[in-house]
Subunit: 413 residues, 2 copies
């Protein structure tokens, strides 16, 4: 079964916004056995949208459309859909109630433009948008299913997860697709590939292996397609086990979760607490941890000790250490991690200090130089890294490396 | 002048890779007056690529193609181009020398597969790839220009910047395109549209207005096309000014930057410092601020005071306040913000505490309840918000609302 994704919006075509919706949808669709044949981004132009709709059904049986459903004048997707599928605009009561409920929540009046968002072509079924005011729409014509959704990512994601994917899984005859994931850290993609070259060669043609690298972590994803679920499960797990054994040192998880989630689970299992002392990551490690529901069970918080002053007053780093070795040094990061254990009264701590860039580098300590320390009550580990010259990447790499160091320490205990 | 972008690769259609190349190219092309009409992502399939090439020239006079030029057998773009434009494969000496030079640098032998990368259709002019082994190719047929580039972002970027854009600017007669942006916060898209309904109606057809909403912020973007740059500049700025005046209360910036960048600029201008005390955002506000280069000039850092204990020990929140009013209350968030000013010795502070969800809600304080406070040395403002039930959204909305409250406070001074 083939799908096409059409993303609508001038902002995509002038490059103001990167189309992340398509990759997200493509992943989810692949997971239920629907292959995306083409992704097409078109401008907010009626004739152009119309043509894209017509061309898509030549290639696909399911078409996913995002964007152009807002209340303003540049949003014209709905009128093109009306034109394409016929019917007339009618106020949908359920959509209208939803709009009123959202505005009531914020104590704001419903404007005519918002009221009008409840008007949909009579030729569609609406898809309720619990995250926003623009309803989604489902059309079926000439054996092709069309789903129109807002371009706002979280509105689209909510509709896909809670309405569209369940509906597709029920109504279409889809093959079984199974995915198994191995999360690794501390090793690069090509070295990983080298370690499992034999296991990869032995995969049958209906099981694919994908390497999904993301700054210091590589996810290995096995995808199996077939008609016999039980046989498929047995087969995919056989190969997963063979691969995982070959790279055991680098395996962080055998399920599809993040390293921060693995760490939080280990902390709960050990009935231990964690605190952070972040300099160059500026709160990003705390953000990764607290993005996980229930993180407050073991993550206490910590300090964003960006300035020298805060390193001293919050963590008790010695003024002499800072002036003699600098903020980016083994001595400072060690005092930071020990200070965090003490000041925040935690069982484990993470500390990092580095030069994220683009400025601030010296010949001795170029941009990308980072010191990371992790500690338990009876052990401290500090390590120096040299990343690249991109600020955001340095922040992300530092965070992942720090979490990996903590993971190794937790595993020892 | 219209362009089309064709990105080739299975990795895009299974969602393994987000297509960031297109947005980058679109921005650069817009800047020189070339409008991207459509972006099409297709799989590594010969018939599909051929069809995309044929369809593109119906819509565009310039076609940019990325991907499928690697040395492995799934890379088939070159053979499709040969088929489409005719000619025969010939070794290009310049490309071959480049390949040898690259391998020599890494002390590696040139494999047959790499030697073959220097073979290009006789119907093309090559575009030298200084960053990699696959040469780019330029074809001209039926008044349409085609540029084929590797999908590796830095190789594509180098070719675009150093070869293709200079070539296009010289050889094509291009119109001027200007963009102007107004960043707003604290108001929804539809309310904004309502305020500027007259100004929007008065826009001439060669100036478009787009609304780009993102959790609590809306970017208004005016785009103008024309032949006379000076007249266009005058015109777009006239309309920008008219719109900005109507929504003056909500305008955060008249340039295309984020609210956190606006705040950092204001702090620098006021020679003031900022600290943060984050509970429910868990470091995300610190992360947004420190993602901006040079933020250390005014952002000192702060506390991620996730637990009751850290609210007390780091910020000096009274134990009685926490036990009597709870962590999510006006009293607590006020003590947090004042504690931050004092503990971190800053001129301004932000504090927030809320229930991000999905658990932890009560009838009194449902998930999404958030208290935010901002303070200067002589003023404290606290405000309650009720967001939704999605953890990440609640975190993001809290951060943007807190930054907007601080922006208003900074503006007063």
């Amino acid at each position: 079964m083939f799908a096409e994704i059409i993303t609508i919006g001038d902002e995509l075509l002038i490059g103001q916004v990167v189309d992340t919706n398509s990759a997200w949808m493509a992943q989810k669709l692949n997971a239920i056995g629907i292959r995306v044949k083409q992704i097409t981004s078109v401008s907010d132009n009626a004739a152009h949208i119309y043509k894209a709709l017509a061309e898509a059904k030549e290639r696909a049986e399911v078409v996913f459309i995002t964007g152009g459903l807002g209340p303003t004048k540049d949003d014209i997707t709905k009128s093109v859909l009306l034109d394409f599928f016929g019917g007339e605009l009618v106020i949908n009561e359920q959509a209208l109630q939803n709009i009123h409920a959202i505005f009531a929540r914020y104590n704001k009046p419903v404007l005519p433009a918002n009221h009008q968002q409840a008007a949909v072509p009579s030729s569609c079924e609406i898809i309720l948008n619990l995250q926003g005011t623009a309803p989604g729409m489902y059309f079926y014509q000439n054996n092709c299913h069309y789903f129109s959704m807002p371009g706002v990512p979280f509105e689209m994601i909510d509709m896909m997860e809670n309405s569209i994917i369940p509906k597709l899984s029920q109504t279409l005859k889809l093959p079984f697709v199974l995915h198994e994931t191995i999360l690794t850290a501390g090793i690069g993609e090509s070295f990983l590939a080298d370690l499992i070259i034999e296991e990869e060669a032995q995969l049958p043609s209906h099981i694919q292996l994908a390497y999904l690298p993301k700054l210091g972590q590589v996810r290995l994803r096995l995808s199996a397609h077939g008609d016999n679920r039980a046989a498929l499960e047995k087969e995919i797990n056989f190969h997963k086990k063979a691969i995982a054994e070959k790279i055991a040192d680098y395996v962080v998880s055998l399920t599809d979760i993040n390293i921060e989630e693995v760490i939080l689970q280990m902390l709960v299992a050990q009935n231990s607490t964690l605190a952070t002392a972040e300099s160059c990551t500026g709160g990003y490690i705390g953000h990764l941890l607290t993005a996980i529901p229930g993180s407050s069970r073991s993550y206490l918080g910590g300090g964003i000790t960006y300035s020298y002053g805060l390193k001293e007053s919050v963590l008790g780093v010695k003024s002499d250490t800072l002036s003699q070795t600098g903020a980016v040094s083994e001595e400072t990061v060690t005092e930071m991690v020990l200070g965090a254990l003490k000041a925040f009264n935690s069982d484990y701590a993470i500390a990092c200090s580095g030069i994220a860039g683009p400025d601030g580098g010296t010949p001795d300590k170029p941009v990308g130089t980072v010191w990371i320390a992790v500690a338990s009550k009876n052990k401290v580990l500090a390590k120096k890294f040299l990343f690249g010259n991109k600020r955001m990447q340095n922040i992300e790499r530092t965070a992942v490396s720090a979490l990996y160091m903590l993971y190794r320490l937790l595993k020892e205990n």
